[in-house]
Symmetry: C2
Subunit: 311 residues, 2 copies
């Protein structure tokens, strides 16, 4: 089993990747001391294909810059994620010239073939790879089964179940893990959970019990909207003596408590509502950025009325 | 299945039961509109047996006072809890003269016989009863089995599993539910979970799936230390059409968001640490009331060093 901490990557969606070099370096050292297997240090999207103005460097993970910030690598491997259509493979060095060990490709189910094309490229360049299927709660079963068949014959190392909307309960993850095992039996699996319904940690340890090998987490749960499975809870739960919670508690109190005063993430009611409705959290994020940020009942009315209008 | 909202009772441990009459009335109406089956409106401890100075009226639930605050009862029944040794049965009216429908007796495993004596008294007075076994995570199996045998032959209606320290995972609750079913087969069961490890909701819905009949919850999770299973998440999860989330969202935004600015509860790291260590949260509460409230690593050191010194 391996832990992948995605604090800087998913947390960057909260603060536009505005983490200082010192901040990122301290997180890397803490995760290393804690025995965390991978740190996802950002996106490897191209500055030419996504908005780059006012966006911190962890959105792009320039290889030279990574080497400056982290002069010495530890046992904790580095990972970056790319979105289908937003990466320029000409900008990606061969793995042996990069600090990155793992590149994860995120895509919706409909784009699995595009995602697997990217996987092949990164695989040829020498990287470990994952394919992260987003919004899996909104997929039709026959499409999922077809996609898993393609994944199983691809060179990808790990297939990830991504609960983008934070709407899944234990029984849903159990169902999906069974499907993944059945239709992509030759692959390892991963879980990336969101905490809209306070289920992220519970779903992640359910995955661990069911043999899922890659568990995503983030310090203090930092991540978009409701955030992720907290790294400190996973470290406290796992019995493997290689994991230590203390280094993470240290950066948590030094870096993340002050940060949480400036930016919000976690269990916030509009995200619970979008999770219950199996909806993208963007409407909740818009509410929280408005004057009506605490008008939960009206938000609930709006979200449930739209469904009727769509019929 | 029945929901029991204990916001005023367990939340009272956060603010010394300093809820206004208007506040409690609005919570009662909201829970009624939401279809919640029981509202636990406080403790029924005796002012002569617990500290009463500076403590709000919901610590004692005087019958006359309850009738003034809630002139008209709805379909939502009222409940109060008592602690073994802190209730004066001379102060408890027969059920037909009281607004209370249910009296819950809380005790540690070692006091089950005392608890069942109280249960018998309340049962004779015409109340529904539960026996809530606190700190069940710290009990020895043979003592638990013996106690469940006594419970099974007593007049109590419901036996509650109480995760006082918020230290239990799904598999622990599953184990305990099996034990309760096996050794007290003639009783209904209940779950009262705490959220130290972000497991309160997950454990509660696990209970529901396993046939547990009474589910405790509180609005916005308000309760001592890490708080409880959020009522709004349970209402969103349950498919029974009698439950409505909207009335709870309304009081949540009007009453509980402002209250949370003044008092803290919920996922706070020292409570995660005490949960991981299966310890009472009191040391975490002391830390949060000190100048060192965010010194998590030092707190972790202290809590784990004590264990060694005890050996």
């Amino acid at each position: 089993m391996r832990l992948l901490d995605c604090t800087i990557r998913d947390g960057g969606l909260v603060n536009n990747w505005d983490f200082s070099e010192d901040f990122v370096r301290r997180v890397y050292l803490a995760l290393s001391q804690a025995g965390v297997d991978y740190m996802e240090i950002g996106y490897k999207n191209s500055p030419n294909l996504v908005e780059s103005k006012g966006v911190g460097p962890w959105r792009f993970c320039d290889d030279q810059y990574l080497k400056e910030v982290i002069p010495e690598k530890t046992n904790t491997k580095l990972s970056a994620i790319v979105d289908v259509g937003r990466v320029d493979i000409e900008e990606v060095l061969p793995a042996e010239e990069s600090h990155l060990d793992l590149i994860r490709v995120a895509c919706y189910l409909k784009d699995v073939e595009k995602g697997l094309e990217l996987v092949k490229t990164f695989n040829r360049l020498g990287y470990e790879t994952t394919l992260n299927i987003m919004a899996v709660s909104n997929s039709m079963e026959h499409e999922l089964i077809e996609a898993l068949g393609k994944i199983n014959t691809s060179p990808v190392n790990v297939a990830y179940i991504v609960d983008s909307f934070g709407s899944l309960y234990n029984r849903d993850f159990e169902y999906l893990i069974d499907k993944f095992k059945k239709h992509a039996p030759d692959k390892e699996f991963g879980i990336h959970a969101h905490n809209n319904l306070q289920m992220a940690f519970s779903n992640t340890i359910l995955g661990a019990q069911q043999g899922v090998q890659f568990l995503d987490c983030s310090i203090y749960g930092m991540g978009r909207a409701a955030g992720n499975c907290p790294t400190e809870l996973l470290l406290g739960y796992l019995k493997n003596p290689k994991y230590e919670i203390r280094p993470v508690l240290e950066v948590l109190e030094q870096l993340f408590i002050p940060l949480r005063e400036k930016f919000e993430w976690g269990y916030i009611i509009p995200y619970a509502i979008t999770g219950q409705l199996n909806e993208h959290p963007r409407s909740g994020m818009a509410l929280r950025n408005s004057e009506n940020k605490n008008q939960f009942a009206a938000f609930h009315d709006k979200m449930t009325t739209v469904e009727t209008m769509d019929s």
